[in-house]
């Protein structure tokens, strides 16, 4: 309550903050200012509570890896994204996103099989093939073409559908519901509708695979239901997570990544002209760092007092780890506002860090490396078909990106 006593209550800024429309790739200016002053500070969120916002790279890495920091959203003080997430907290089955320690490890290992480094390496030729087919279709079609619907969405959607054993014919249905489910400021009611129908879809799919399994990730989950390890609802919840995270996030990263490359033609040329897998891999990391599309902060709650960065986070206080300012921390990345594909962007926090770091990160890496490089090579004259300020950005989504990206060549 020291806020009230010292009369500083009104100075705690509201979070999330708005980006500057003139700098669509940059984190909100107010967040960057806070990050320059201190690696963590208080913010006020939608329910009036004042959790800690983490903006420093080193502090973020430390807290992500700290076992005293919990993702259990049932704990008092947990800083929920919005009203929808709070209102469903006791209805949602526990999942890899909301469990800690051993329970988390158990869920996580059920999901990891298709995403090992070597298994993903084995998928590269298939990802390349899907990418080439999409680019063939763009080149054969009318101009301008929309990169989002023609490339950014179909590549990861086809790959994850195949891995999960979700029929690709259903992609319009699940793309739509994934989009609804990721509304940043969802009310209890509209969030509920999208979540319910997608959950039911996955429940049906798990039940189908329980009776008739094949070689895919939902069948693996169904097998665990048959073995009594998890419930149908838990399996469906895990499958939903993979399906949404597996296409929506990568699609956003591809769309806005292509735009960032078009706006930085000298950097795009470096990537186009390189055949060095290490350079291409690092370029994808740098784009992840520069764009940090997960824009609503990773939500946590302290379960013990934690001394960090000159402050004390008390047990029961909320923690929001904001990836974008941490990835623009000049102490970790000099001149962070410059897209520089030649810098070492290892340790970028776009996939998070700690035990909840993105399950599908190796798949996302492979997709980003292949799509950016192939697109620049195959359509070297690619350019934006509208002025930058007419590109519609996803300010209202949990994952930032562009709604459409008209290009010509």
């Amino acid at each position: 309550m020291s806020d009230t006593l010292t009369g500083t209550t009104t100075e705690v800024p509201d979070y999330p903050m708005d980006r500057d429309a003139r700098c669509p790739f940059a984190p909100p200016p107010q967040v960057l200012e806070m990050g320059e002053a201190k690696p963590l500070s208080r913010v006020r969120i939608w329910d009036g509570s004042t959790p800690w916002l983490i903006t420093g790279h080193a502090v973020a890495r430390e807290l992500f890896a700290d076992p005293r920091v919990s993702v259990d959203d049932r704990i008092d003080g947990f800083p929920h994204w919005n009203e929808h997430m709070l209102s469903t907290v006791h209805k949602r089955p526990r999942s890899v996103f909301t469990s800690d320690a051993e329970e988390h490890t158990r869920f996580r290992r059920m999901l990891s099989k298709p995403f090992t480094f070597k298994r993903v390496e084995g998928l590269r030729s298939a990802i390349q093939e899907v990418t080439d087919e999409c680019i063939d279709a763009i080149l054969a079609g009318p101009q301008p073409a929309d990169i989002v619907t023609k490339l950014a969405l179909p590549v990861p959607t086809r790959v994850i559908s195949e891995m999960l054993g979700v029929p690709y014919e259903d992609h319009e249905f699940f793309q739509h519901h994934a989009n609804v489910g990721l509304a940043r400021y969802a009310t209890a009611e509209d969030g509920q509708k999208g979540a319910m129908s997608l959950a039911q879809y996955l429940i049906n799919l798990v039940e189908t695979k329980m009776a008739d399994p094949s070689e895919d990730a939902v069948s693996d989950l169904a097998e665990r239901v048959n073995a009594g390890e998890i419930s149908v609802k838990e399996a469906a919840q895990l499958g939903t997570g993979l399906l949404i995270a597996g296409h929506e996030t990568t699609a956003n990263m591809i769309g806005i990544g292509v735009l960032a490359l078009l706006e930085n033609p000298e950097q795009a040329a470096l990537l186009r002209d390189s055949d060095d897998p290490k350079f291409i891999a690092n370029a994808a990391e740098e784009l992840m760092r520069y764009l940090s599309i997960i824009q609503n902060g990773q939500r946590r709650v302290a379960i013990e007092d934690i001394e960090i960065g000159g402050e004390t986070i008390r047990a029961g206080e909320g923690i929001i780890l904001d990836l974008a300012p941490a990835n623009w921390d000049a102490a970790a990345y000099p001149k962070p506002d410059q897209l520089d594909l030649t810098r070492d962007a290892g340790q970028q926090l776009g996939f998070g860090y700690g035990r909840h770091q993105c399950v599908g990160q190796q798949l996302a890496r492979a997709e980003l490396q292949i799509v950016f490089h192939t697109l620049l090579k195959r359509i070297p004259t690619l350019r934006l078909a509208v002025p930058l300020d007419e590109v519609p950005f996803k300010h209202d989504r949990l994952a930032y990106g562009v709604y459409e990206l008209p290009v010509t060549w």
């Binding site: 992500f64 890896a65 490890t105 996580r108 290992r109 059920m110 990891s112 099989k113 995403f115 090992t116 480094f117 070597k118 993903v120 290892g346 340790q347 998070g352 860090y353 700690g354 035990r355 909840h356 770091q357 993105c358 399950v359 990160q361 190796q362 890496r365």
Partner: protein, 64 residues
Amino acid sequence: MKVIVDQDKCVSSGQCVLNAGELFDQRDDDGVVVLLIDSPPSDQTENARKAAAACPALAIDIEE
């Protein structure tokens, strides 16, 4: 240099194989780390350090 892994901490991110594929592998079923070489040759020590730094679960210890 000696490399030690803690399979209980591992969260199957694959960061070790990405950074040092000659030293680490993942179990096929759940992606848990498998240490292939615990005393890396000198041309692999830098990769080992990178893998330890990149491991999100702090499951790799390096004794220099």
